[in-house]
């Protein structure tokens, strides 16, 4: 099967997955009215009962659930994702989504970079010095990382770096929000916006806000990456071609970096790709703890409010991201490992 055939097959599967996911979520979100009614964002207090009924009919809220689904599908295919928000404050769901997406992207990129920078060397050390002290230390760090409750670690960071640093007179890091200087308006990705407009104070401020939440994210996931790198490296180091490389008289360092690493990193790359995609969905808890105005925070709000439109939008975008990420990673695999051919 050629490469493009494979890709097309996966994309068709994606559509199927999207439809199924949307059906399931639709059933859950609309079928059990809790919190506010789905039509709440569309109306405002001044409407009469008949006007409310009209709104309901226009969007099919009075019809049975199955028909509602098709109304929704029709709307979506026209680009209308419905309104989201609390009573009478409805704004288009996709607008709300994309306003916040930039912040999530920023956090995702920062978190992933940190994870890679710390996680991969940790894994390599662990493998190369297997069963010696550096291995034990890095394993404990890695395991502590992913045993840490996300809601707890974020607060501990805030406690130390914001509160106590302030008390002790040290330079402190901001604990919440993304910026004290207003929201980004161009690309909606604050740092990029700052760079484009040459507003470096903004960029710096944004960066300061980014440090704690991205470190919180990275700490929890670097453990996982380090483990994979370690396992992979250990297996590679046992291979015959490593003995061969050593027999040539190559320095151990060269053996590890030129011969072993390329082989060992292939699974790590795939993992990082999936991880990044997951972060793009907005790490809900981290965003909540740091009051980071990302998409995850909005999703949380939507669930609490029973806001079906936003939940649907969020879930579907997330599904697309994950499936695409899997696809990209698989294709990347083919490029990295010359043995694989499609």
């Amino acid at each position: 099967m050629k490469l493009y055939e494979y890709v097309i097959r996966r994309l068709i599967l994606l559509v199927f997955v999207l439809l199924s996911v949307s059906v399931i979520v639709f059933y859950f979100a609309r079928g059990f009215p809790t919190g506010i009614a789905p039509w709440a964002p569309y109306i405002h207090p001044k409407m009469t009962a008949e006007q409310i009924e009209e709104v309901k009919r226009a969007h099919g809220f009075d019809k049975p659930l199955v028909e509602q689904y098709f109304y929704w599908l029709r709307d979506v295919l026209h680009g209308d994702w419905g309104l989201t928000g609390a009573w009478a404050q409805g704004r288009p769901a996709n607008e709300v989504f994309f306003n916040h997406f930039g912040y999530t992207v920023e956090l995702a990129v920062a978190g992933t970079i940190l994870t890679i920078i710390i996680g991969i060397p940790l894994g390599i050390i662990s493998a190369v010095k297997n069963n010696k002290l550096p291995d034990h230390i890095s394993r404990i760090i890695a395991l502590a990382g992913y045993s840490t409750p996300a809601y707890w670690f974020g607060f501990i960071l805030q406690l130390i770096f914001f509160y106590y640093f302030y008390l002790w007179g040290l330079p402190y890091l901001p604990s919440s929000g993304a910026s004290d200087l207003g929201t980004a308006t161009i690309t909606r990705i604050p740092i990029i916006d700052g760079l484009i407009t040459g507003n470096f104070a903004y960029v710096w401020d944004e960066f300061r806000h980014l440090i704690l939440p991205s470190f919180s994210l990275a700490f929890i996931s670097l453990g996982f990456l380090a483990r994979i790198v370690r396992a992979s490296m250990l297996e590679v180091l046992r291979q015959d071609y490593i003995t061969m490389a050593r027999s040539k008289g190559l320095k151990e360092r060269v053996v590890i970096y030129r011969h072993a690493l390329k082989n060992a990193l292939i699974p790590a790359v795939t993992l990082t790709g999936i991880f990044f995609a997951y972060l793009l969905g907005g790490a809900m808890i981290t965003e909540y703890v740091f009051s980071w105005p990302g998409v995850g925070q909005q999703a949380l709000r939507a669930v609490m409010q029973g806001d079906s439109n936003f939940i649907l939008l969020y879930t579907l975008v997330f599904a697309i991201i994950i499936v695409l990420a899997n696809l990209i990673v698989d294709v990347l695999y083919a490029f990295l490992d010359p043995r694989i051919k499609y």
């Binding site: 997955v17 399931i24 919190g35 045993s147 840490t148 409750p149 808890i285 997330f318």
Partner: protein, 319 residues
């Protein structure tokens, strides 16, 4: 004929026993696993002893559920406590000594943590076992049947993989009410897919082995083959996965509680206790710190075991 069968069974068990002995030997050599096992054993025992050590009624202060703040000692820390938190903290000068301070209800935080441990352990166990059983069952059927059933089950699993896990659990819990059972079900829904893939893979490779063909020739039905023969041979990776998942499940469970999905705000559960401290991180940090720390230690101990187990059982790393 009968003695031949028992002979065969005996040597089968001998082989398994030797294998297990080897595994235990490797585990004993691994210090981290040892530490993890001791720690988790400690927590499990503590969990069992908790109702004896601490009176469970202390969790539900007098007057609750009506009057939630009867005590004058909420968010308090002993003035004569060796550790101090700096200014901004309410100090308590009364007769009782709170090792870890008090929470928003004026309850002794230390005692609440002890009561919370069995709650978390028990629920995490149920969820993990439930997810594992369900996923393994589906995976076995998918792998063994092949064809349409296999495809269908695979696609369904794929769909669940594409879900943002936490969100699904949240939506589910939000829709079906905030009971412990709902929460358990919600998390199980999110954790079962990996087992399907795992078991399916195992079954697929076992299916090709000659002993399965022999069994079929002897007239054994599919369920018998699957559950009496294939399953015991495939159980290792499932066990490893379950042990590793346990640490993650307990974190997810308490995270959901933290986000507000607990059936009652006073329920002694580590995430729930931590949530209480959310609004008071600067003037009563202990309410958040200590339950979270306990959660970390519990999760860490099980992850240590799971990690070591995976290392040890990896066929390529065994000597």
């Amino acid at each position: 004929m009968q003695s031949q069968k028992t002979e065969a069974r005996k040597s089968e068990w001998e082989a398994r026993l030797a294998d297990i002995k080897y595994t235990l030997h490797l585990l004993r050599k691994n210090k981290l696993v040892l530490a993890g096992s001791i720690l988790s054993l400690f927590f499990i025992i503590l969990g069992f002893l908790a109702p004896i050590l601490v009176d469970p009624k202390l969790a539900y202060p007098e007057g609750y559920p009506g009057d939630m703040y009867p005590f004058k000692r909420k968010y308090m820390w002993n003035a004569n406590h060796p550790i101090q938190w700096g200014s901004g903290v309410s100090l308590y000068a009364g007769p009782e000594f709170f090792i870890l301070g008090t929470d928003g209800w004026g309850r002794d935080l230390f005692k609440m943590i002890i009561l919370a441990i069995p709650v978390d352990l028990y629920n995490a166990a149920i969820i993990t076992i439930g997810a594992a059983l369900f996923g393994t069952f589906l995976g076995a059927i998918a792998g063994y049947s092949g064809g349409i059933i296999d495809e269908a089950l695979l696609r369904i699993t794929d769909i669940f993989f594409a879900f943002p896990g936490l969100l699904l659990a949240l939506v589910f819990a939000a829709m079906f009410g905030r009971t412990i059972e709902t929460l358990r079900l919600a998390i199980m829904l999110v954790w079962w897919p990996p087992y399907v893939r795992l078991m399916r893979g195992q079954v697929l490779s076992e299916k090709e082995k000659p002993y399965v063909e022999a069994l079929k020739a002897l007239g054994a039905g599919p369920f018998r083959i699957l559950f009496r023969h294939i399953l015991p041979n495939s159980i290792y990776p499932i066990l490893v996965q379950a042990t590793m998942d346990f640490g993650g499940v307990i974190l997810t469970f308490s995270a959901l509680m933290f986000l507000g999905f607990s059936p009652s705000p006073a329920l002694p559960e580590l995430g729930n206790l931590a949530a209480d401290g959310y609004g008071h991180i600067f003037d009563a940090p202990w309410v958040l710190i200590f339950p979270g720390l306990t959660m970390l230690l519990i999760s860490l101990s099980f992850n240590l075991i799971g990690d070591g187990l995976r290392d040890v059982l990896d066929p390529r790393l065994r000597r």
